[in-house]
Amino acid sequence: MRNKNIFILLITLLIAVITLGACSPEREDTTNGDANSGNTNDEEANKPEELTVWANDEEEQLEAIEKIASDYEKEEGIKINVVAKSMLEQLDELALAGPEGRGPDLFFQPHDRTGDIVAQGLSQPLEITEETLKNYSTASIESVQYEFNGTNEIYGIPSVMETYGIFYNKDIIDEPQTIDDLLVALEEHSDPSLDQFGFLMMPNDLYFAYPFFKTNGAYLFGGETGEYDTTDIGLHNEGAIKGGELFQSFFENGRIPVSTTNDVIDGLFTEGKVGAVINGPWSITSYKEALGESLAFAPFPEINGQPAQTLVGTKAWMVSYYSENVKWSTDLALFMTNQENQAYYFEIAGELPTNTNALESIEDPIFASFSDQIANGVPMPSTPQMSQVWEPMNNALQFIAEGEDVSSVLDEAVEQIQSNIEASGAE
């Protein structure tokens, strides 16, 4: 037994000696940075032979991107490799493939990941002229701006936008203009014993419930869009409490059951038993299939006489930090999001464009109302700290719906968000 211990000790010692003795590999000093100095504009202007694009792997989206890429190939003579890669997997893979030079030039991500992406050093800031920026809707450009180490830059070319509003069944209710209309609809058209409801919403989803708070004066993080002050959380101020009480009034006396889930909402609405629900453009297809002509869409109803501000999400093309062709990659991203191509993309993939002209030219009434709603949208915060907000706030909303005291619930939630941010290792 003792012999064995000595043996193990010896091996450990040997390994320790070898490890400490191992010396650093000889490398060229690359601190000058070959890819990202930003001073190499002249070289970058040289046309590359090919560019690689990671596109989301959904069938229609991919089809549209491939067509647009081949147009660009014809126009500029640069070969474009479109690689299908799920949006959810792109970041993990880029972090490994990028440094080895196997990464893409362009990748596709929702804007609320910008903070994560910049923190990991995966994308690089882009230089875009004011002229070009004017083509994109303000909210979409704001959403891709991000401040890192004191400088505010644009980290992507917005391509697709989405937000949410009210889907309603014309057979049951008229278009709800104000939030009170929804309450009235709830009173008049609900019969829980028959599973009929004038209006249904989730009791625990901050994304959809945000207008209740925002329009009363609450906010997620202080500071400007893209330059968030994450120590300033505006979810327990007076406006938030007012919003919370308004939210609570929808669940009082079991008007909306507190155990409502997404499945319940979708199920009952498509059965034609619900007057109105909150949802986004991704559900248009299935709703239309079920309800046909009875389906209509309205922007989120006014609160306190002001248009409701919903959270807007953008998906954007970002240039990889490891790309050696920043200029041409940017050019390709701009090409993919110009008016003509966004209109085409919308037609095939059914996702709302960010280009204002393309957005305005939409004729489908439901999508057209969505673009109206986007005008009142605020971009979701793109700091990594935002991921600490969802869970505590969703829980708080559940407690509020269950009838607990709004102000103390919100205080607790904010406290939890703060300690979560601290615990996640944020500076």
């Binding site: 070898i18 010396c23 690359t30 923190a119 990991q120 059951p257 990594p384 969802w390 615990a423």
Partner: protein, 433 residues
């Protein structure tokens, strides 16, 4: 033959020289022992390994120690992976080297004591006979190193770094921080507060859910095995059905059925029978816990049922007849014949059931995502350790801390399992007597 002269020569053979020579370079000792073929093979092996592996291993161990020095250029996590692999490789090489030294020394001593080397063919046969079991287990051992030891080492090492979202490669380098994370776990309130309550529920969940599923399976197996029961095949098929449906489908369906207002259980069973508003299955922690235990019992009993049905067939009828002659009651027969027999044969599998439920992520996450929320607590009412770690990792992206908690969880489980297996072993030996 001149046996005497050989003895005389070999008696001058010095084991120390052989040892030193083989330490200097693998195979030299064997040459000194006049085992030329073996010696040459060893020398060639070392030359080949030195020329091919030394750089990779040097780089790997350097990466393991420093985790990279140039941000943006060195990828710390990648270096950690290479480092762990090189570390394992180094250990294997050192063990081989030590084997070489021991071999040289042993043989030198044997020669000194007058042992005459066998011919080439005979020694090959001897080698094969001696090492056969090792050769056969070698592929398994290598597989185990790659799929078990390597990831385990990797995640253990991760617990000693500062790897989180704000400090992740390629932009930044990850550093070794020693026991910093463990210190934080006991000082930062969100972990400290929640850890105890989650751990307590995890233990309660494991014990109740598993015991219930075993008890139900056993009772049903006993009933169906009774000779007076007819249509045995059909009953068995029906009872195995819950096992045949993929668990996640069942759990999702149950999750819908348990819904407070829209679910079938409240609507079609509880309210018609008892009136009232039904039971808040999804919104009250106590009821959510009850529901989830019931579902696990339903999901888990068919396996136990099938297991026990098989074992029950193997109990000899003679024993029961003997018990009848002695006037044993029905309960006594169960207590002293059936139960020991069944438990004896299935104990390891039953323990696995407990371990499995301790880490039963699927049911917790799919049923209610660990909900309902509890005020002032970070984890939901039904969150067990594993689902809580999952939330921590993906909500806070604090990979290092997740590794710390997994490590602690692993220690708890392995302690538990180790103790249990020790108990079964003694139980088994007792039974065999």
């Amino acid at each position: 033959m001149d046996n005497a002269s050989i003895n005389k020569r070999t008696n001058k053979h010095n084991p120390s020289i052989a040892t030193v020579l083989s330490i200097v370079f693998a195979g030299l000792g064997q040459l000194y022992n006049r085992r030329f073929i073996k010696g040459i093979i060893f020398i060639l092996l070392e030359l080949v390994l030195l020329s091919t592996l030394i750089n990779a291993i040097n780089f790997g161990l350097w990466g393991l120690r420093t985790l990279g020095t140039i941000p943006g250029e060195d990828h710390s996590i990648r270096l950690l992976v290479f480092g762990v692999l090189s570390f394992i490789g180094t250990i294997i090489l050192i063990i081989l080297y030590i084997f070489n030294v021991i071999d040289a020394r042993k043989q030198a001593i044997q020669i000194k004591n007058g042992w005459v080397p066998k011919g080439f063919k005979a020694s090959i046969i001897g080698f094969y006979d001696n090492t056969f079991p090792y050769l056969m287990t070698l592929p398994g051992l290598l597989l185990m190193i790659i799929v078990v030891i390597f990831p385990l080492l990797f995640s253990v090492l991760l617990a000693f770094t500062n790897y989180n979202l704000y400090n992740s490669p390629p932009r930044s380098l990850v550093d070794w921080v020693g026991f910093e994370n463990f210190k934080e776990l006991v000082t930062v309130p969100i972990w400290q507060d929640t850890f105890i309550s989650v751990l307590a529920w995890t233990v309660v969940w494991t014990i109740i859910a598993t015991t219930l599923q075993i008890a139900l399976g056993m009772i049903l197996a006993l009933i169906v095995n009774d000779s007076r029961i007819k249509f045995k095949k059909m009953i068995r098929t029906i009872l195995i059905l819950p096992w045949a449906v993929p668990a996640f489908v069942t759990i999702l369906i149950f999750s819908a059925m348990f819904n407070d207002d829209f679910g079938a259980i409240n609507r079609d069973i509880i309210i018609p029978l008892f009136g009232g508003d039904g039971i808040p299955w999804l919104t009250e922690p106590l009821y959510a816990r009850t529901a989830i235990i019931l579902i696990q019992t339903w999901l888990g009993f068919p396996f136990i049922f099938a297991l026990f049905t098989g074992v029950l067939q193997s109990i000899s009828k003679d024993w029961y007849e003997a018990a009848d002659v002695d006037g044993g009651s029905r309960f006594q027969k169960f207590r002293f014949i059936t139960l020991p027999h069944v438990l004896f044969a299935t104990a390891p599998l039953l323990i696995m059931q407990y371990a499995q439920n301790f880490n039963n992520f699927n049911i917790i996450y799919l049923f209610n995502e660990g909900g309902p929320p509890v005020r002032g607590q970070n984890a939901g009412g039904t969150d067990i350790l594993i689902s809580w770690v999952y939330k921590l990792t993906f909500d806070t992206n604090n990979y290092a801390m997740a590794a710390v908690i997994s490590l602690i969880m692993g220690l708890i489980i392995s302690g538990f399992a180790f103790y249990q297996f020790r108990q079964t072993k003694s139980f088994k030996e007792e039974g065999e007597m």
